[in-house]
């Protein structure tokens, strides 16, 4: 590495990447882009790895991606200056596209006739057609329901727009013009990147540019290695679940992290096969950033000044077997995948808690809800759709700090919309939007509190949908003796009908009805009785905890808003935390579930299931679960055997079905 030029080149690359991202953000059309900043513009080297990735604007977590899955479809000889490549196809882009709502673009940048690098961009299109407005619904089960899919294609040939492709895109979205507006914004930003790279090369020369690209990535790699080297060597395992499958079975995510010197291996073998619901994602059978987010975030936390680029992922190897939820195959539905990504992240944090001497964090609320509403405009009779608010819940308590109220780490980039804006844009009145006292998982460092939002319908009828919900069944787990967080709750007409409706799919409200949503919350970190009494007092004074809970849970005595230090000391001395408050604190439901269905068995079963042809997995899965209900002792047996047994049973039943339904007699052959 060049000791002087490396930092200068890093700053130059940062300047042009941030500039381009800013331009795209300012120009983008859709509310969704504004609220969630779910877009990005960056520069990748010829191999497809990013050497500059913006952090001031847009999605900041994709720096470890490669765009090779898109560019590999176009041999260099077929590329020309001014080309723009496009795709939103998860199945042919090697994990670049992780669900079809993300439209990716790439533009080769030529300097003096030589391919120097690629400008890249993506935007989460608010709608690309399909079964539901917004294209995402948790219950969709194959990609064809999720809208238009475009395999890698040239959208622009040497500066000439391919109007056919543009028209197909515009005609297949409910808001085609707005989506096209976003794509134009991205293309303008990529043109700017092209110009800036050419200006830079004209000034410093192509070889200095290439040296800079390589040095900047090596520098990041070295710093990433430094962080991994500080972790304890060994192999660590952790499991968690997604609840969303329509079958009622929990989807198992199993993570195995191995720290070996300054390198890390992450293996998700044993995780559940892909499901007939929209929370699969693809990772292209490679080290994909979605499989390493917890570790990448940890590296960035420990090395705050690290340049964000593809070098960060070099010391990591990750694997998710094809056919699992984390590396799904055609024609899996993926719209709602972010819940699965969050849970993947949670399992890696669960492993890191074992690899980092004092641990790092308890589990957060674990959902990434986006509340939307649809209604008929009385004046025009047209359907209108609007995003209301993001809806998550607090993050988990951390080794040196409480969790963040109302927002989990993984979606910390989400921005809320002013209620005063929501009430102009929608026929809803928001009756409350506030934290829920006492809702967090208790701990030495408590979890972040739940958030509540109550929506009253002021039109004849409004349909509310919330995607990205989870945590109605297994509560977020506590760490190092901290208590679990809470589950989510949804109530229709609180105080009147009080109908508990669980996970909202599509909830119709008529005028005057109220839908009240209370989110899950973050779990605690460390035993509550070790919490600083001052911090307990702070929560009590702020009305986030009552003095009974202060005494019962935290052994802190508070009288008339004052800390009784003497009484607290006495109470605490009698309540030493049990020596082996196991590192992880699961809730009862999960403990019971795992008694019947231990993670080890679930892993073995998933692997056995992956070995049978994809078309049979669903049937076998369901039958095996039924069989296990009847004969729970089989759980401790050989899962390959079980799968084989059910499969045979399956073919026998098919055969017998033939016998039961013989061809009608007398019909001529």
């Amino acid at each position: 590495m060049d000791p002087v030029q490396t930092e200068i080149m890093k700053n130059r690359f940062t300047a042009i990447a941030e500039e381009a991202s800013t331009v795209a953000y300012r120009t983008a059309h859709t509310t969704f882009v504004k609220q969630t900043q779910d877009f990005q513009v960056a520069i990748a080297n010829r191999e497809g790895f990013f050497f500059a990735f913006p952090v001031m604007t847009g999605v900041t977590s994709g720096s470890g991606q490669t765009i090779a899955g898109l560019t590999q479809h176009f041999p260099i000889d077929n590329l020309q200056p001014g080309d723009v490549l496009i795709s939103n196809d998860p199945f042919s882009t090697g994990g670049l596209v992780t669900h079809m709502m993300d439209i990716h673009l790439a533009r080769p940048i030529f300097v003096d006739g030589q391919l120097a690098c690629f400008a890249w961009s993506f935007v989460h299109a608010s709608d690309i057609g399909g079964a539901v407005p917004g294209s995402i619904s948790p219950d969709l089960y194959e990609c064809f329901q999720e809208g238009l899919r475009l395999r890698p294609t040239k959208l622009v040939h040497a500066g000439q727009l391919n109007r056919d492709v543009a028209n197909i895109l515009r005609d297949n979205s409910r808001i085609g013009d707005a989506v096209w507006g976003d794509l134009e914004a991205l293309m303008a930003a990529m043109r700017l990147l092209d110009r800036r790279v050419n200006e830079l090369c004209a000034r410093i020369g192509m070889s200095a540019f290439e040296r800079g690209v390589s040095d900047v990535m090596s520098y990041t790699e070295i710093r990433a290695r430094r962080v991994i080297a500080s972790l304890k060597d060994g192999t660590y395992r952790f499991s968690d679940y997604i609840e969303g499958d329509a079958s009622g079975a929990a989807v198992h995510i199993h993570c195995e992290l191995t720290i070996d010197g300054e390198e890390a291996r992450i293996d998700f073998s044993g995780s559940s096969p892909q499901v007939l619901a929209a929370f699969n994602f693809t990772t292209g059978s490679r080290t994909h950033p979605f499989l390493c987010l917890g570790l990448i975030n940890y590296i960035q936390t420990m090395e705050p000044g690290i340049a964000i680029n593809g070098g960060i992922i070099r010391p990591i190897t990750a694997h998710a077997p094809p056919g699992t939820v984390l590396n799904a195959e055609f024609p899996a539905a993926m719209g709602n995948r972010f819940v699965a990504v969050m849970r993947t992240y949670d399992t890696l944090i669960g492993c890191l808690n074992q690899a980092i001497p004092d641990g790092i964090a308890a589990c957060g609320a674990g959902q990434a809800g986006i509340i939307s509403c649809a209604w008929t405009d009385p004046a025009t009779g047209r359907n209108r759709v609007a995003v209301v608010e993001p809806f998550s819940g607090g993050s988990g308590g951390r080794v040196r700090a409480d969790g963040v109220d109302a927002n989990d780490t993984m979606i910390g980039y989400l921005k809320s919309t002013p209620i005063e804006h929501v009430e102009v844009e929608t026929p809803l009145v928001v009756r409350r939007h506030e934290l829920v006292p006492g809702s967090f998982g208790h701990g030495r460092y408590r979890g972040g509190a739940s958030i509540a939002i109550a929506l009253e319908c002021r039109a004849p009828e409004v349909a509310i949908t919330v995607r990205g919900l989870d945590r109605f069944r297994f509560r977020p787990w506590g760490a190092f003796g901290g208590q679990p967080g809470r589950n989510s709750q949804v109530t229709l007409n609180p105080g009147r009908d009080d109908i508990a409706i669980g996970r909202v799919k599509l909830q119709k409200l008529v005028e005057g009805e109220v839908l009240d949503l209370v989110s899950s919350s973050g779990a605690g970190f460390g035993p509550p009785v070790q919490r600083e009494p001052e911090m307990v007092l702070h929560d009590v004074r702020n009305g986030m905890l009552d003095d009974i809970a202060a005494e019962m849970v935290y052994a802190v005595v508070i009288r008339d808003g004052r800390l009784d230090e003497e009484a607290t000391r006495r109470l605490r001395s009698s309540r030493v935390p049990a020596e082996t408050v196991s590192a992880v604190c699961f809730d009862e439901t999960r403990i019971e579930y795992e008694r019947d269905w231990p993670p080890k068995a679930a892993c073995a079963f998933s692997m056995a299931l992956l070995a049978v042809p994809a078309g049979l997995r669903k049937t076998i899965w369901e039958r095996a679960l039924r069989l296990l209900l009847q004969r729970p002792e089989l759980v401790s047996g050989d899962m390959e055997e079980l799968v084989r047994h059910v499969q045979l049973d399956n073919s026998r039943q098919q055969a017998s079905a033939l016998e039961i339904d013989p061809p009608p007699p007398g019909r001529p052959r």
């Binding site: 941030e18 504004k34 109302a406 980039y413």
Partner: protein, 677 residues
Amino acid sequence: MFRIGVDIGGTFTDFAIWRGEGEGYVRIGSHKRPTSRPDLAQAVREGLDEIARHHRLTPDSPFLVIHGTTISTNAVIERSQPPVALITTAGFRDVLGIARLRLDKPVDLFNRRPEPLVPRERVFTVRERLLADGTVDTPLDEEGLVQALRAARDSGATAAAICFLHAHRNPAHEERALALAGAHLPDFPVMASHQVWAQQGEYERATLTLLNIYVRGLMDGYLGEIERFLAECYPQARLFITKSNGGIMSAAEARRLPIHTLLSGPAAGVTAARELGGHLGLDRLLTFDMGGTSVDVSLVDAGREAVSAQAEIGDFPLLLPVTAVEAMGAGGGSLIWLDGGILKVGPRSAGSDPGPACYARGGTTPTLTDAYLIAGYLSPEGLLGGELPLRTDLAEAAFAPAAEALGIPVVAVAEAAIEVATSTMMARIIPFLARQGVEASDLAMMLYGGAGGIHGPIVAAEAGMQRIVVPRLPSVFCALGGIVSDFVYDAIRVTHGVVPEPAAFDALVVELAAEGREWLTRQGLSEQITGLARIDIADMRYAAQAFTLPVDISLCGIAGAADAFRREHERLFGHSDAEAAIAIDSLRVRMIGRQDKPHAGGSGATSPGRDAVSRRRIYVGGAWHEAASVLSWNDLDPAVAVSGPAIIERDIATILVPPGFSARIGAMGDLDIVRKD
């Protein structure tokens, strides 16, 4: 009228003096005193007395004092003021705690939302509700309100802000609440959100209201003290205060709405730059104000200061139209270090204690100032007017470990560090300009402040700028800004979702303009106002788009607004849509009461140059220039251009003329550095 601009800085309290009618820009004078702590007013009083003596001002002399201060700014950043309380609509107690939800650094596992200015225990809710169109849904619970006010006072709060939902649309409930507060708790200061800034967005509006009452006691006390001093010693003098929007207001207004002073410090400098740019025929400027620990950059475009509607102060959004300033933590004290063999500059700073190694105050880590010295940009004798010699040996010793580790000479490390710092600044300046839709190479740089004379030209050269201007009085430029500022008032009406018909829209403009004129009258200097100007801005967007663009509709009115929007969209983004529906979310009217100003006439030329060139070895572009010219600004011959690389020195500033540029004294007594072709 005789005018004195005052600006309190970290080290010096600066004064700029204009004797009034008939005096040209080039005759503006300056004065400095060390800033007095903790009694900031002391240096102001003493400085004013000294100026009065020197200019023979008597107790009967009428004159204006235009004061810029950052004491409110610092109070917010340091959160040094006594507690205040918030009263808001039931169901929204956590409006401050939730803020806008987003975390600044989502990838940081220790991320957190900043602590709210008011903790939950001092947020009180009241049953009342307006709907988005301003109609009443739930009437104000008057008893509950009085209880909430009492609870707020009993909680130890010294004042309370009231922010009810949709009060920007209909202030009725807030007005009633203020009346009840006045009747039941007459001694408890209370302010409501519609009185401060009637913008949509409950979190941002509540924050503005709270910040206003938070610094009000402090500003009231400080400004009251200055006013008492003036009343006693100079009863004919009048006090005015600079605003964050680049204008000024009466002291009484500032005591009521100190929120408008929070970002006024850097704004006054940008106003001064705009004014000088106007005299020089430069209407597109990048301003560059570098001190010991930070650099502030801003933009003048088409002869106007860039306005930001998304400014921040400390941990808080400041949703007022203010002069857009990008503040960067890079200054002369930025530390230079090695990270595993890679050369880094900042973000940590040596500050003033111990300061750069060459100050010989015990600092051993090299800083940018040490790099300037080693490269020969700074004189070892220190600044011309200063008493502090700079120790090249200590600077070199501080750099020695890095030079050894990198295997290159000390001076090469020094220049490389300067280059790293330049690239760091560029990484912030370029995205800042991108947000304004401007490219650096189209701008001229105007640099001022204590430390910008070396790094400003380097940044300008790197950014492809053609011209750099250093004003005649760079070190009191913000104080000078007060002298050349106009009265500027901003008014807003939110039209989101209920855009009025064209006729009603025009009536709204007239209404806001009348509000502005009334405000100008209230400032109490109507006889001094030489003209009125109005800028009408519509915040517009495509109906399907989420972002608004500020569009100047002063000339075209509502009738031409759609076309003006499309032109602006085309200019900023390179595309626009002739058919898509357009929405107007708010209307802002800026009313400007022009003041008499120093004219551009007269000659800035000083006495004919006394050829006093000395020579010094300086290191630029990887090589020593053995005999670079070093001149004193005051000795420059206006007829002769100095070719870079060269150094120009003056009392408290040193200016580098980069290679490829040449410098000469300009028409306004400024130093004009232009790129040679």
